[in-house]
Symmetry: C2
Subunit: 411 residues, 2 copies
């Protein structure tokens, strides 16, 4: 008998018919002798509807009260799913975040989980109940309702799996696993049976949005076995999805590269003629951070003649704001020569733990792109990733040739 | 400085604009130096929407889970109203039923309030907060969410007023008070400045639906000063509404009759030729009660020749079911001769504590109706009410002539 945590997103909870389908799937898993804990999101669109109501009343609504409102979305779906389970003859019991209780800090709208009381859940499981828990929410030590921020239901699932030492945490989405790249661009893209946590982090942050990145970090930290599965497959004919593993679990014969990730929602900025002295990076990026703009890639090359050039990327939607911050607050202040930028860029990354022991990956990547005449505007590497910024018009071409060059189309 | 509890219904919470209006009203009351506790219902239509979702999944949904779902309606409005108050510069803090905490029994969907913890509310009030509490809901001793049943927000308001010894509990509705009768039938109907609790109970159960009857009983029991006011009047020009008082508060010069109530949603049934022996009433009404059908008036006259006739009224929507229960389970069993019934009836009542000391009220009522040729099918009296059942086609006429006969059109 295994203890399984399953998490279902808003699309799976989208209407009564889909909720009934989810209940059937849970019944199937329970009938195989498993103990089941289910984490659900709000019905798709509901959280936005609720937040819009609040925004209609105040452009800058009180965060504590926003959480009171937003948390109702999952409270509705735990009730609906429990009713659907009972209707199918499965004993079920719902819990809000504060009932579990999922204790968080008091950072309303982006709270962090501190602890989970597993005793009542264990008792219900032993009594034969399926336990249905509201994702995305918790309670602080003063009894205030908190939410974990967007995508927080994944985190709730992983946290419950960690607290109860579940055998597996299954995240059901509208895709049947993690792919070597986006199948809409490369039809030969293959579902990965396994991917390491670190690769998953790189894939996710590079734009392969299957799992909330925070939940992956959390799963890695607590060694939770995480699996991505499709909620649209028939429960009696479910594929294996993609298992997110620890690196040590991977066997020696793993391919070097696991996938090609990409992101076309970034813009690049370069500060030209920056005096090459300590503290410059902070003076450039400090005002950007103060404006709450996420910076992704940061590149600074060795300088010459006492100056250097400093480049970084930001979400494309923040491009105009970033330019004006650099012009108004940074350029004069640090004595830079010029600010230039480009929104027509894309980032392409090759990701894989295998590259650590294979030094030829970068050169293979660069050669492949060069053969297509694709110029590299920026390059950034980590232990398990090589990312390049290119002209966005070459994005699809670059992804296709890299996918093929690294043999990802081969089973 | 007074402590005021205000309760706003679903219509007052119907959209962001109305919620802002309610916030303005509360700010006005607070600016007069009052401490304010606000109880709100769900946005109009929301509770029905939520219950329909559950019914789509199961025709007979689990009651515990129904309460989990239904309670979210008020959780949304406490958040929205608190945001609206903060937006207007008023410090506000919301509480769900379980946060207050409003402890109830575990009778899901129709729970009864057992106790209220007033300590956190008092502290917030002392700190200058307006406290916004979700109506209609509570929590049982095991932490399960409960609801109080339809209209339960009135009860929450009264219960909070009782627990905190509030100076007044104000119920805001879409009318500006309790009237001598329905102004749509009698244009001369007047708003009553005061009405006793007992009269209010009779008026409410007779169909003048302004307040939930349970909240009136509750207010009477705990001596809460209850006032009905309109939420659609401007807060700076608010009328006095109707104060619901204890009888001792009324002065000697009160009119004999306070109002004419009526109900056209009932049907009458008569069991003819019932053996006149002990236990017959129970044998007739037992199966009706078992089927959860509410019985209102019950009449049994003295018998003759060893048999009698037994009449009662039920909601018109239950007429067919009641007839078949009587035919199938009662008639043969008790040896009655015949079951007859009529759905084309209406009940008209004269209500007033003054009638206790004025024995001529009944005869005046009967004479007034007789002069219009209106036949009385059933008569039932209490200490402060005389109710008659008549052909429904005479309802408006009866209400008008009685309203005039008892001088209710005179200020």
């Amino acid at each position: 008998m295994a203890l399984i945590v399953q998490k279902y997103g808003g699309t799976s909870m989208g209407n009564p018919e889909r909720i009934r389908n989810v209940a059937r799937r849970i019944r199937h898993w329970q009938s195989q002798g498993n103990q089941m804990i289910i984490v659900v999101s709000a019905m798709s669109g509901e959280t936005n509807r609720l937040l819009s109501l609040a925004k209609e009343i105040s452009p800058n609504p009180n965060a504590r009260e926003l959480d009171v409102i937003a948390s109702t979305g999952e409270q509705v779906t735990i009730g609906l799913l429990s009713i659907a389970l009972e209707e199918q003859g499965v004993k079920a019991k719902s819990y809000t975040g504060s009932q579990v209780r999922i204790l968080t800090d008091d950072a309303f709208t982006k709270a962090r989980i501190l602890s989970i009381d597993d005793a009542p859940i264990r008792k219900d499981l032993d009594d034969g109940y399926v336990v249905v828990v509201a994702g995305f929410q918790g309670v602080d030590e003063n009894g205030n309702i908190t939410t974990l921020g967007r995508g927080g239901s994944d985190t709730t699932g992983v946290a419950l799996a960690a607290a109860l030492s579940a055998d597996e945490c299954q995240i059901y989405t509208d895709v049947d696993g993690v792919y070597t790249t986006d199948p809409r661009i490369v039809p030969e893209a293959r579902r990965l049976d396994r991917i390491t946590f670190e690769e998953m982090l790189e894939m996710a942050s590079q734009g392969s949005k299957v799992l909330q990145i925070r939940s992956v970090e959390f799963a890695g930290k607590y060694r939770v076995k995480l699996r991505v599965l499709s909620s649209f497959e028939d429960e009696t004919n479910q594929g294996p999805g993609t298992l997110i593993t620890f690196e040590d679990d991977k066997n020696m014969e793993e391919p070097i590269i696991s996938g090609i990730a990409f992101n076309r929602d970034e813009a690049k900025l370069t500060v030209l003629g920056v005096p090459d002295r300590p503290g410059i990076a902070y003076q450039i990026l400090g005002p950007i951070a103060d404006a709450n703009i996420d910076v992704d890639m940061i590149i600074q090359n060795v300088g010459h003649d006492g100056t250097t050039d400093f480049s970084f990327t930001v979400p494309r939607s923040e491009y105009a704001r970033t330019i004006s911050i650099l012009e108004d607050q940074v350029k004069q202040h640090i004595g830079a020569r010029e600010i230039v930028g480009d929104t027509h860029i894309a980032k392409v990354s090759a990701v894989g733990v295998g590259m650590r022991s294979h030094p030829g990956v970068a050169s293979k990547m660069f050669r492949t792109l060069a053969e297509e005449g694709i110029n590299l505007q920026m390059i950034s590497t980590s232990e398990i990733k090589i990312a390049v910024v290119i002209d966005e018009k070459y994005l699809e071409l670059a992804v296709r040739v890299l996918h093929k060059a690294f043999g990802l189309d081969q089973a």
